[in-house]
Symmetry: C2
Subunit: 401 residues, 2 copies
């Protein structure tokens, strides 16, 4: 597998672009279009929030066909909690794009991120789709990644290549994140494209496995958006031999998808709202992998742990207390905690000032690793999160004002 | 029921005091003693965190007897994650107090709050118990309430009186809270005393019911301490007729206990770390009362909702999104949301700028009420929380430094 430069790349059979059409009040880009020159396999993963945006409702129905060709994504308006009119607007958006390309509306997917409760400005969306179609380019990924940003500080892209089924296959993804938060609530959007030839069921299987290893291992503030979605399109332009389930090529395919989603998930955490640190939390020795993940996520979500990380305070008591609240099988008297390489806690007991000083040094870095050994079994999990800073409060207190 | 002034009151048969003995690095009070002149009924409620402080472990075992006479509480050191030595120190603390009063150590309960992972400075504790014993006074409640404070800004007391079983009975409580947070993690301590004559099982039953209606309805930051505990002592000095389960006197008793615990729980929220607002969240029309509580708690714990409250932003999308994540049976298209009297959302749809302006006005007050109508059934619940401010981050990022 080769990791490509995200500044200048193309994926055979795809064109894309991002523009400003006036949905955002600023002059920033707010509409992205991704186009495949042929019908492609399509898979999706959607928010589990029971309050779903119109785009999510529409795409969840469409993806059952396993087919797709175009994605229209806008920032600046979430089109969530907008009732029947919101759903009609999402459908109309897809129809506008379908008309541009002369394809069936069922092959068009939509995604939105922005303020909840406001309707899409449809005349602007119409003009935007028309303009973006005219600008489509094989090298437009940077512009598309910009157009889906909200409180993100930088665009997020990832590209890898692999020899697979006798051909060179490319996998590229763009994402936006920022708070699991922004506009009125988070929203993580991710679009992945590949020229690989792969059936819809196999694409879906691989995407679900990949999401579990990447986006489901990150947390910024524990909230889940009404608009979160991941779409993955595979158009077969590479002309590779189809992979066999569980075979060598399938494993290569999965590894490529994992590389792209993991890179994007980590970029989302690094660019978390107000984040000053990237924190990896590894739990090992849990009874099961799912208990390990539960423990790691509870620590990662604790406001107390996150503020201590911001304060560069080796406050292991908060980690221990969060573990105690996680609902897993735990023996505090056998638990070890490391920050960086410093063993702060052994068998539940603090290891004194030298360990504290070493851990404090590790906390001064931009990247921090916390390792928790439970001595209960062989379950392991790693999650990524960021710290909680003044800036987080500022961004979220002041958002609509 | 009469609500008494907390500045100057006494509870027949009790003496108390609070002093500084050097556990805290500042010159603030750090040790409280509560003494009943006779053996009393005792009941307790303890943290569900699997990592329990030594005091919690000791008291949970002792309270099985249903009897008690003395409470020793310290701030400045949590004596949590301190292993065998920590438990030995908790026992030694009880023995020191027992020796002062010439009673069995089993009748002495201990409570601690402060930094996790550090041992109690036992020579100071010994001197402190000796000094405090000499200062015990029927009017010492203010001093005792001060001695259990950590990041609390003010001491928390509540006293009520009622005619019950032919006598005047007094109920008094002191508490500390502040972040469900402070030292290294929260810690809510609450001690309630009454001169009522009541059996241990009946006291326990009433205390559990009362806790459910008060302390279990509040959240500051969603974390649960290793040291949280509530102790309730009833020494029978009033000489009332014993209440019959479910009878009129029992109901009066329960109402008194509820009044004290609810008042203290609300004081804890008002004094939440960095809190600038007291927020009541009422969910009605849920399928069941427990679904109502689940929904209300999810909204109350959401960092996004809490930062929007701090920013006085009528950002109902975040409330809706939190509801969607709560795991309850929800129909977004039938949900109404009020802030104060402003109906911001009807049947899942925003009600425009006038409603937004009215809600923003309501958000500018110190006390804010959010009402959510789910139209799914008759389940209701009310919880109390505070907003999340810069000060919260400051207190928790800088605590140990």
């Amino acid at each position: 597998m080769r990791i490509l430069d995200t500044k200048n790349f193309l994926v055979p059979g795809y064109k894309t672009w991002g523009i400003h059409c006036g949905i955002k009040k600023t002059d920033k880009k707010d509409l992205a279009l991704i186009y495949s020159d042929r019908e492609a396999s399509m898979a999706g993963v959607f928010t589990k929030n029971k309050v779903k945006a119109a785009s999510v409702t529409l795409d969840m129905a469409r993806v059952k066909s396993g087919k797709g060709q175009v994605i229209v994504a806008n920032s600046g308006c979430a089109n969530a909690c907008t009732g029947k009119q919101g759903l009609a607007d999402a459908k109309a958006t897809a129809e506008l794009a379908a008309a541009q390309f002369g394809i069936k509306p069922d092959l068009v997917y939509v995604a939105s991120t922005g303020v909840i409760g406001e309707l899409l400005p449809m005349p602007k969306v119409k003009t935007g789709i028309h303009t973006a179609t005219g600008l489509l380019s094989p090298n437009g990924w940077g512009a598309a990644a910009e157009a889906i940003m909200t409180t993100d500080i930088y665009p997020k892209l990832s590209v890898v290549q692999e020899e697979l089924g006798g051909k060179t296959v490319t996998f590229a993804g763009i994402a936006k994140g920022s708070g699991m938060i922004h506009p009125d609530m988070a929203t993580m959007l991710c679009f992945i494209v590949t020229d690989m030839l792969v059936s819809p069921p196999m694409l879906k299987k691989a995407l679900l496995a990949s999401t579990e290893k990447s986006f489901n291992n990150i947390t910024i503030d524990g909230d889940m958006s009404t608009n979160d979605l991941i779409l993955c399109m595979a158009n077969g332009a590479a002309g590779n031999k189809r992979p066999v389930a569980g075979g060598k090529d399938f494993k290569k395919f999965q590894a490529c998808l994992d590389a792209v989603t993991t890179s994007l998930a980590m970029q989302v955490v690094r660019d978390g709202e107000g984040a000053t640190k990237f924190v990896e939390i590894k739990v090992q020795g849990a009874k099961t992998p799912s208990e390990a993940k539960k423990a790691a996520m509870t620590v990662a979500k604790s406001s107390l742990v996150k503020t201590a990380l911001f304060g560069e305070d080796a406050n292991w008591g908060r980690i221990m207390a969060a573990l105690g609240c996680s609902g897993i099988d735990l023996d505090a008297g056998r638990t070890d905690i490391f920050i960086g390489k410093a063993k702060l806690v052994e068998n539940g007991l603090g290891q004194g000032k030298a360990a504290d000083r070493e851990a404090t040094q590790a906390l001064k870095q931009r990247d921090v690793q916390i390792t928790i050994e439970l001595h209960k079994g062989k379950g392991e999990a790693t999650v990524w999160t960021c710290d909680m800073s003044y800036e987080y409060i500022k961004i979220n207190a002041a958002y609509r004002s």
